[in-house]
């Protein structure tokens, strides 16, 4: 793939704009809250698009196109089953606690609801996860640019990290969020022509359905048994593992996305942020799943004349990760090629900046201010926040080089993340809806859930992974294994939290107002117009999601 002047020009314009946004926002940064939490005054349309953009990083764009090629239309489960319901739940039930408690972060909510040790456990694990995620995003970007454009690996790392550092250092969270919105439009508008042209070239959806195996064009029909579908999982594992544990664990408790809703101007906007974000999320498979399905159709013998191929990996199989770059290279002429490459770069930078801004908030508020230096001036914490931003980027660069040296570190880190994230939703669910839940219960529940996840992974093996204690059970696919690990860890956390809570003393009710559902006055501020009410909006979204599942059943 060779770039020309117009392509480079587009990439340079993009870099100038994202840095320019940092300089524009810099003038508004006067306090640590402005820098780390945006001062809770960002308009609804921006918080909603930022909410979805925070999840539109490299893994999302490249990974979902790759999954579309590998698993077919079943990949939509990550959206329609694995996102919409959880986003509606977050907006309707959980945002009132996050926003109403005035907590500046998810770990701080845990401190208010439970105790300091639960907050500390969550804050440290989250900070480590975000900085490693950011580094992996950086590594993947540099690797991709090295493979498809033959750019120097080191130069790509330092250039991308340098640009993210400039705009996050200057404008903090607001700058990152504004750029995320720009990146959202760039990714959607930059990849839309690709879908249209490739779909037309493949003869339309009806032709694709005749060319591909039916397992690749139906979302549910072949999920009765794990052997009968390409994902290797049955519908029960999917619904509980992905649709409940992993989905709610991510969308409802991960500070990276929740932080975007917490920036809203008021409670009404905070509740509607994830619900409005669910609309583009519902349509996102058109941009990131459909191209993968089209790519596999284009490789069928009947369409061989189109000349499209996805390169092979080192083992001789299809290198699914290269599906999107291959489509861009095949269909985009000079100019649009620059737009496509810029969209890819934007997705990586968006993922990295999101992680870094979440990291600096949690580190500054929940670790530094809580455990190291308390009661200093706001200016002190603003400077610390900026220094932590730089440190976060430097740690990311180090992680990127570690990932370069150890091929398996990405898999290992993703695994550790699932151990930590999997059980977390049980803690929040019990904490928000059962006033008897205690701090000791939450802490030991989280620890037990994480250990249960590690044990399950160590006793199961799938596609050669896991089974490091003893390969007791074999699972059809790695994805099925991830769902089972998440499910077991959730149940372990849920049961342990209940048991320990029943044996320990709960907080008095007076300390739980605004933190627990039964002790919190329900918001009545948006009861006049139906489109301002979160429950009708949520029900409409769920109804549309069900209809989409039926259409692609």
């Amino acid at each position: 793939m060779n770039l020309h002047l117009a392509d480079y020009l587009i990439i340079i314009v993009y870099f100038l704009f994202v840095i320019g946004v940092g300089f524009i926002i810099k003038k508004r940064i006067k306090s640590s809250n402005d820098f780390l939490t945006s001062g809770r005054n960002i308009p609804l349309w921006i918080t909603s698009l930022a909410f979805i953009s925070a999840n539109l990083g490299a893994q999302e764009v490249l990974g979902m196109v790759a999954s579309g090629a590998k698993y077919g239309i079943m990949t939509v489960h990550f959206y329609w089953m694995g996102a919409i319901f959880a986003m509606v739940f977050l907006g309707v039930f959980m945002m009132p606690f996050y926003y109403g408690s005035r907590a500046r972060s998810v770990p701080e909510y845990l401190k208010l609801r439970f105790d300091e040790k639960t907050r500390g456990l969550n804050a440290v694990s989250f900070a480590v996860m975000t900085v490693f995620s950011s580094g992996i995003s950086l590594y993947a970007l540099a690797k991709l640019l090295e493979v498809i454009l033959h750019w120097n690996f080191d130069l790509s790392i330092w250039l991308a990290a340098g640009i993210v550092m400039i705009y996050t250092f200057l404008g903090g969270l607001t700058s990152a969020v504004y750029n995320e919105v720009l990146q959202f439009f760039l990714i959607v508008l930059g990849l839309s022509p690709l879908v249209i042209v490739a779909l037309h070239d493949a003869g339309g959806w009806s032709n694709i359905k005749t060319l591909l195996q039916p397992q690749l064009t139906h979302a549910w029909k072949y999920m009765g048994h794990a052997d009968s579908n390409p994902m290797g999982i049955n519908f029960m594992s999917l619904i509980f593992g992905l649709g409940f544990v992993m989905s709610f664990g991510y969308w409802c408790t991960d500070f990276l996305v929740v932080q975007r809703a917490m920036m809203a101007k008021n409670m009404n906007a905070a509740q509607r942020t994830p619900i409005l974000a669910a609309v583009p999320k519902m349509l996102m498979p058109l941009i990131v799943v459909l191209p993968g399905v089209i790519a596999i159709a284009l490789m069928q013998p009947a369409l061989a004349s189109k000349g499209f191929v996805i390169p092979s990996d080192s083992k001789g199989g299809i290198d699914y990760t290269m599906t999107l770059p291959s489509l861009i290279s095949h269909y985009y002429p000079t100019g649009l090629l620059g737009v496509g490459i810029t969209a890819l770069i934007a997705s990586f930078m968006s993922g990295m900046a999101g992680n870094v801004t979440a990291f600096n908030s949690v580190f500054t508020f929940d670790i530094y201010q809580s455990y190291f230096i308390k009661n200093r001036s706001d200016r002190h914490y603003l400077i610390v926040g900026k220094m932590v931003t730089v440190a976060g980027i430097l740690f990311s660069i180090v992680t990127a080089y570690i990932a370069k040296g150890f091929n398996n570190i990405n898999d290992f880190l993703q695994l550790v993340f699932s151990f930590v994230n999997g059980p977390l939703f049980a803690t929040f669910l019990l904490g928000m809806f059962w006033k008897r839940t205690t701090g000791h219960g939450a802490f030991w529940g989280l620890l037990t859930g994480t250990i249960a996840a590690a044990l399950t992974h160590g006793l199961t093996v799938a596609e050669g992974k896991g089974g490091w204690i003893f390969p007791l059970f074999e699972i059809h696919s790695g994805m099925g294994q991830a769902f089972i690990v998440a499910g077991v860890s959730w149940v372990a956390n849920f049961c342990t939290t209940i048991l320990v809570s029943l044996m320990t003393k709960p907080k008095p009710e007076s300390e739980l107002k605004g933190l627990v559902y039964s002790l919190t006055e329900k918001p009545t501020y948006h009861q006049n117009k139906w489109y301002l009410k979160v429950i009708p909006l949520g029900l409409i979204l769920i109804a549309i999601t069900i209809i989409l599942n039926i259409i692609f059943f």
Binding site: A6, N41, Y178, V181, L182, F185, M267, P333, L336, Y525
Partner: protein, 69 residues
């Protein structure tokens, strides 16, 4: 004009208008049929950019922080 730069919608609109001009000019200068795609996409980007820059409401944060109701 400078005040408008505080408006995110305006900034996004300008960005897409510039990208559109690069695509359209590139499409017009080339005789290749494949670059028609550049032209059409550029036109759509231009329409989006102009609409975004013209009609977006002020997306800049206010000075004061609103309290949750």
């Amino acid at each position: 004009m400078l005040k408008k730069l505080n408006n995110l919608g305006f900034v996004i609109g300008i960005f897409f208008s510039i990208i559109a001009l690069i695509l359209i000019i590139g499409g017009l200068l080339s005789e290749s049929l494949s670059t028609r795609l550049n032209f059409y996409t550029g036109f759509v980007f231009l329409v989006f950019g102009v609409l975004m820059a013209s009609f977006s409401k002020d997306g800049s944060p206010r000075e004061e922080t609103k309290r949750p109701e």
